[in-house]
């Protein structure tokens, strides 16, 4: 009897330490911050901290700017990665092998190093402008550097997210069986029909996972927007870090944090639901 009860407790004992970390350092702080941002100075329920955020022009600008940058990055990211992943899935050539190797490289580059690399490459008189100048000095006069501009954030976010997005999409595409496509070809389906009727629906989950995780990562990022983006407007990540450390206003930073949580929570729930439905479907 004793042996049985310790046995049934054993798994709980084993999983307790990491579970404590997840609940103590994710759910608890997030919930606590959420409740605190809804509490007024007198301790009663109040929206005053959100009103303060909404009445501050730079905060609102920052929120809108973050949305714009995130969406444009995601559009660019999928425009590059989806065709690339499709090509990698259906080609066994040497070109495909090398394209995949190169596409995965940023995975091994630390975030701060990629920011530095992109600055040195894209800034005025950087390597890119130098190469263009060597090809045609006239053309180089029209060079538009994305450094310290919104485009810089978009390029940097895309650069960092390519490997993960390609991997996830490729994993999704691998689940599309070649036999399925061949039999569709046999009955005379066109390339477009195969793409829209078979491949796209079957890779929806992978695309959703890639969308969600990239959205959260780009929406809340700091390194790339801080180093590659303009001084104004700032993204929420940069604003939050400034508010917390430079202006030493942890409460205002907390409000900004909870607002990013609220935005990302919707996307995060979609992610968790997508993965969990996939797993229970598999078991």
């Amino acid at each position: 009897m004793v042996a049985r009860s310790t046995r049934s407790l054993l798994p709980y004992i084993l999983i307790t330490p990491p579970i404590i970390l997840v609940f103590g350092l994710i759910f608890f702080p997030a919930a606590q911050s959420f409740v605190r941002t809804l509490t007024g100075v007198d301790g009663s329920f109040s929206f005053e901290r959100y009103l303060e955020f909404m009445n501050d022009r730079s905060s609102v600008t920052s929120l809108i700017f973050t949305f714009q940058v995130t969406f444009l990055s995601l559009i660019g990211l999928f425009a590059i990665c989806y065709p690339l992943a499709l090509y990698l899935r259906f080609s066994n050539s040497r070109v495909a092998y090398w394209a995949q190797m190169v596409a995965l490289l940023p995975l091994f580059v630390p975030g701060i190093m990629s920011a530095y690399a992109l600055i040195r490459f894209f800034r005025g008189r950087g390597l890119l402008e130098t190469i263009i100048y060597q090809l045609s000095p006239v053309l180089s006069e029209t060079y538009y550097s994305p450094y310290v501009k919104p485009e810089g954030i978009i390029i940097g976010s895309i650069w960092e997210s390519i490997p993960f997005t390609v991997l996830v999409l490729l994993a999704g595409l691998r689940q599309v069986e070649s036999g399925l496509i061949e039999s569709a070809q046999d009955v005379g389906a066109s390339r477009w029909t195969i793409f829209f009727q078979i491949i796209l629906p079957l890779t929806r989950r992978a695309a959703l996972i890639a969308f969600c995780l990239n959205f959260i990562a780009i929406f809340g990022s700091y390194t790339i927007p801080y180093l590659l983006g303009p001084a104004a407007p700032q993204t929420l990540g940069v604003l939050m870090q400034r508010t917390y450390q430079e202006y030493a206003q942890p409460l205002q930073a907390e409000t900004q944090a909870v607002i990013t949580f609220a935005v990302c929570a919707l996307v995060g729930l979609l992610y968790v639901r997508t993965v969990s439905s996939q797993r229970t479907g598999r078991n």
Binding site: P11, L14, I15, P17, P18, I19, V22, L25, I26, F27, F28, P29, A30, P83, Y87, A96, W98, A99, V102, L104, L107, F108, V109, P110, I112, M113, S114, Y116, A117, I119, R120, F122, L127, I131, Q134, W159, I162, F164, L167, L213, I216, G220, S221, T223, L227, G237, M240, P250, A257, V258, T260, F261, C264, A265, G268, L269, Y271, V272, R279, T280
Partner: protein, 281 residues
């Protein structure tokens, strides 16, 4: 003769039609991804490099000594190493038994608890660390080594639980049972059958955890600074508005060193599908 050249041209055309997109993609990726990385490498060994020279006009190691003897790096380097090792070891101690439980034992709420680790990805990091910092401030953990270890540990959970869990699930039970039948002890079965089979996956998880922690920036920035500085954190001022580009380049290369090890195993990591398994794909 003409038929031969025609067929050659035909073949070339067919090759271009088939690989046209691939070649275009490869060239784009080389310009977009490889050239920026190459720029860092060139700056790391450049003494003089002015526009419009495509490569540095003067090469040398002069800036290495200058950079490596900087006081901030001398403080940050040991911090980064000790932090990454402690976080990786702690993560193994906490997560590996848990992943064994998730893979091998049946208990209530198993799916729920396993999925709860996904939430480490569902929150924007910086925002979460602001919320954590407010709690840590009251606990006196802001600016301490322990504080940074705890936040960085949070980052490792998903990888260190999901990858080994999948590996433990993949071990054929019949192999272990056969060994038990012929009289091997449970410990011996675990050491000689289970462990060797899960070793590649666990090794991948450990390697990824170490490298990720070495690069971790936001936790170290918000919780550690200004007392506990790591290499990524001291790089911000060296990249922003720094008139000497070599500092940033050399520190980037120092930071990149563990990645070279990871790159050596890259093929195996990818083939095992470990990288995406850590995200629930």
């Amino acid at each position: 003769m003409t038929t031969l050249t025609l067929s050659m041209r035909d073949r070339l055309k067919r090759y271009a039609a088939r690989e046209g997109f691939g070649l275009f993609a490869l060239i784009f990726l080389i310009i977009f991804i490889v050239l920026p990385i190459l720029t860092v490498l060139l700056w790391g060994f450049a003494i003089r490099w002015r526009f419009p020279a495509v490569i540095p006009t003067e090469w040398g190691f002069d800036f290495w000594q200058e950079t490596l003897s900087r006081a901030d790096l001398r403080r940050a380097f040991p911090n980064s190493i000790v932090l990454s090792i402690s976080v990786t070891l702690l993560s193994m101690v906490i997560c590996l038994p848990a992943s064994y439980a998730f893979a091998r034992m049946n208990f209530r709420g198993k799916q729920f608890f396993l999925l709860s680790f996904l939430f480490t990805n569902a929150f924007p990091r910086l925002g979460l660390y602001v919320a954590i910092a407010i709690i840590f401030f009251r606990l006196g953990l802001v600016g301490t080594f322990a504080g940074v270890v705890i936040v960085q540990l949070l980052n490792t959970l998903l990888l260190m639980i999901w990858i080994p869990t999948a590996a433990f699930q993949g071990v054929e039970r019949s192999l272990e049972e056969a060994a038990l039948d012929v009289g091997a002890s449970r410990l011996r079965v675990f050491m000689q059958i289970t462990l060797p089979l899960v070793f590649p996956a666990v090794f991948a998880a450990v390697l990824l955890t170490f490298v990720n922690t070495f690069y971790e920036t936001y936790g170290a920035l918000l919780i550690g600074a200004p007392n506990v500085l790591t290499i990524p954190v001291i790089m911000f001022p060296l990249i922003n508005n720094q008139p000497i580009p070599q500092y940033g380049a050399i520190l980037s290369l120092v930071l990149f060193a563990p990645s070279v090890v990871l790159l050596l195993f890259a093929n195996r990591l990818l083939r095992g599908g470990y990288l995406t398994a850590g995200f629930g794909v």
